[in-house]
Symmetry: C2
Subunit: 195 residues, 2 copies
DNA sequence: AGGATTATTTAGTGATTGCTACATATGTAT
DNA sequence: ATACATATGTAGCAATCACTAAATAATCCT
């Protein structure tokens, strides 16, 4: 067992509460007071466990990605590229339309812009969004090798289009769009996808 | 002429500077210190002219919309719905890809989320984004009446799809996407549009 | 039992936030 | 000239920001 006095709060549970706050208010809008209140701990405990606000945010980002990893993997594991992207957009609509979650997407609204003190966080989010574009692109490249996409298809361009639709759906959801509306957007987007 | 001591700064010029700051940092991230420095005035002048930070932001929003009004009107005035949307997406790509502007779109990143003190601003932005969806929808309804869109076309759904792509492009642009990449996204989106 | 190590609570820190009181400056109306 | 009305610069307001010093509490190891 670890040395010293044991931690009195549950890390994962506290992280989930912090995630909820960041998701709802963004990096800049989430105050330490909000965070400690939601997590049920005092500032020194937060700093001992996570370093600082930015460290906590990065951990919350990891947690957020973990929560969505399974549905992304499931979607991209579909036999054809078309089906993979269709499932990806559908699961995005379901997740963004779920009113049990805060509205919108942490990867988008966590820090699209802001004061200089959140430049690093802004960069981190951009990098993670780009990583998800790369994930889609690789799936489409594979599809092209497997003859599943036409030879003249452009995996990079299509991947960016799909990501654009996903991020646009996140903006719609932040503005209160329903699951049905998001699913309709997803279905329309799929008509742009080579079959 | 107006009574009292005349204003020593140019309102429009000052508003443009404020717009630039809000555009780059968002409503929450823009401090009054940033704003007064950029506008070249002291806080009391700002408050006398604009009421408070939120009032200044709303004026900056008006100015932002004015700047984009012409290209929106031009695009939607195209003879066919297809061409109207194509032009709309193209001009969006050009505007968002113009490195002389701050990255991204004020309507999106101005306040997607944030602390409670910016709830009103968040609502205002949502309302204005919804208004632009309505603008597109009305153009598509007209197209349907004119036989320019198939009878089974869904103007509301298509309008929301187009808005979703535009807002997604704004997120890409905030992350540094180039004009070319945005134009490619726009072109791909158009393949989902009935011709 | 006693020392070492880590967590927690309390109570703050200096810096920055949006905003304003007050005195002064600059214009018009009479 | 005097009164009135509005704008400006100086200086600073209370509140909140992210963060921490210091004392105490709870565990392990010897």
């Amino acid at each position: 067992m670890a040395l010293g006095r044991p931690r009195a709060f549950d890390m994962e549970r506290a992280l989930d509460r912090a995630l909820e706050v960041f998701w709802r208010k963004g990096y800049e809008g989430a105050t330490l007071c909000d965070l400690t209140a939601a997590m049920g701990i005092n500032p020194p405990s937060l700093y001992a466990a996570f370093g600082n606000k930015e460290g906590l945010f990065r951990r919350a980002l990891d947690r957020y990605e973990t929560l969505h990893e399974a549905s992304w993997n499931d979607a991209l594991a579909a036999p054809t590229a078309y089906e993979a992207i269709a499932r990806l957009l559908e699961s995005t609509a379901i997740s963004l339309g779920d009113k049990r979650n805060p509205p919108g997407c942490l990867m988008v609204q966590g820090a699209l812009c802001g004061g200089e003190e959140c430049d690093a966080v802004k960069q981190e989010l951009t990098a993670r969004r780009d990583a998800s574009v790369a994930l889609i692109r690789e799936r489409l490249r594979r599809a092209k090798r497997e003859g599943d996409l036409p030879d003249d298809a452009d995996p990079a361009g299509l991947a960016r289009f799909v990501a654009t639709v996903i991020h646009g759906m996140a903006v719609q959801a932040a503005g209160g769009a329903s699951r049905k509306e998001l699913e309709r957007v997803a279905a329309t987007a799929m008509t742009a996808f080579p079959k």
